[in-house]
Subunit: 294 residues, 2 copies
């Protein structure tokens, strides 16, 4: 199995990036990933290098046969992480600012038997991928920023067993990923997930003729459009617009597309701490099966 | 059992409203409720009276022993509805405006054996209460508007089996409710739920010494703060602030309160179509058990 190692990493997703590796459509590939601190935090909570947050992503992977206008299907087969996670709090720094606090220390938590103990509670881990995406159309985008190409969506439903489709905007798609979290609630409200390094095994497939406006995520019986914007409302409206268009492609007329969305579409915040907000619109996957290809 | 009928209804929640009925703390009470159209839509989809949307709420109920500064605990024991629902779409009118459409008709759906058939799919009903609240502090608030007193929160997790605590701001609390939906996704994104009349059986209890900033909802193993604001972000920040303060009351220090929220707090949109946006912050109820009283 092809393995991408962390010595090949990027902090900007860009069509001009040279591929770190190449594979065929349908191949299974393993990505080793660094944590968002570039693995500069030790198990004792000490941060060795203080520099800007840059969310390193491993890659990019060139997928043969993935051409502009296709979708890249990424099946997340397995996620494993190291046995400890690091987490700060962002009182007053970014994201949620209503509450001020003086605790800016780096907290380190052991991960043992799939459980983290924090605040007096045993919490089962729920590994997810914070940064995953392809090269965007146009200018490169920093790996701290989300967009239609994916990137730093910080969506907790991008977990083992999920499938995510990205719009391909550069030949070979140029898939990269990193920034795993062993735990992160919807919103990532105090600025960080439980940051871990790890390994992600994926199967990548070029899907011809699947046009997407935003990433489309399938997980746990739901189909989700994931979108980002300057405000939560803008992100929400983009996710809804994309979902509405998919339902219309499935043959729903305008009234029933809207009504189905009012009946069963759920809006959840993915994150509120990156340069743009990210929101997902969730519908039962069975209602979108006509557009879920590959 | 005390029964409140729909001839006693309000379209403003106000400390000055005369009670429709009185009960003791701990009593079980049944509220009959009209739909949001004041039951002016027929089963054929025709709307008999065209006037402003006013979301009639049945009540208010005076709960003896509920005093300013207490909380009113409302356990939702049972929700039943009529066997059909009505739903419009709000293309371009309010809420989500990105997609334009010409369908402004009233759609009517049968509810049979707990299922609604829409868009070619059988969808299990999930009855919830759109409007529920107590008299607010200060000026009265229209029943189309949500706030710290509750009101038109349109939160789908206010369903059978839920318990909701409201801050009491007027003697007797003055509980009212209406605007049931047989189906509504988080967001109510095209403007309406599947609107139904029905009956709600609740147990009401005055809880002494429980200070709340926002309604606190317990359902499905989660404890949720529900808050409204002029923007989604403002609503989110209010919900998070209230949750943070509850965790601090439970004895968490500032760092771990923030970290627990980053780890497992989920932000979901309740509705984006009323005069204010409503958002809920969800945490595992076990983490808040020290403040969940009564």
């Amino acid at each position: 199995m092809l393995r991408l190692t962390t010595d090949k990493k990027i902090d900007i997703m860009d069509a001009k990036n040279a591929p770190s590796a190449r594979c065929k459509s349908g191949d299974t590939v393993l990505f080793e990933t660094l944590d968002c601190y570039d693995c500069s935090v030790t198990r004792q909570g000490e941060r060795l290098k203080i520099d800007r947050m840059h969310n390193p992503a491993t890659g990019p992977l060139f997928v043969e046969g993935a051409e502009v206008g296709d979708a890249l299907k990424v099946e997340i087969i397995k996620i494993t992480t190291r046995d400890w996670g690091a987490m700060g709090t962002s009182f007053g720094e970014f994201g949620f600012k209503n509450v001020q606090g003086s605790d800016h220390s780096m907290h380190v938590y052991d991960i043992k038997d799939g459980v983290v103990r924090a605040g007096g509670f045993d919490i089962p881990v729920d590994n997810m991928i914070g940064v995953i995406g392809v090269a965007p159309a146009g200018e490169g985008v920093l790996t701290v920023t989300p967009g239609a190409h994916g990137g730093n969506m910080d969506c907790r439903r991008i977990r083992e067993g999920a499938t995510i489709y990205f719009p391909v905007a550069a030949e070979g798609a140029l898939l990269s990923m990193g920034d795993l979290h062993a735990l992160m609630g919807d919103g990532e409200v105090f600025g960080y997930g439980l940051e871990v390094s790890g390994e992600v095994t994926v199967r990548v497939t070029a899907v011809k003729g699947m046009k997407l406006e935003q990433p489309l995520l399938i997980e746990g019986g739901d189909a989700m459009t994931v979108a980002s914007g300057e405000t939560m409302q803008e992100a929400t409206e983009k996710a809804l617009e994309s979902m509405y268009h998919l339902l219309r492609q499935c043959g729903q007329d305008e009234g029933e597309a809207g009504i189905l969305m009012s009946m069963v579409c759920n809006i959840a915040l993915c994150q509120m701490v990156n340069p743009l907000f990210t929101v997902r619109a969730e519908m039962p996957a069975r209602m979108l099966e006509k557009v879920i290809k590959g």
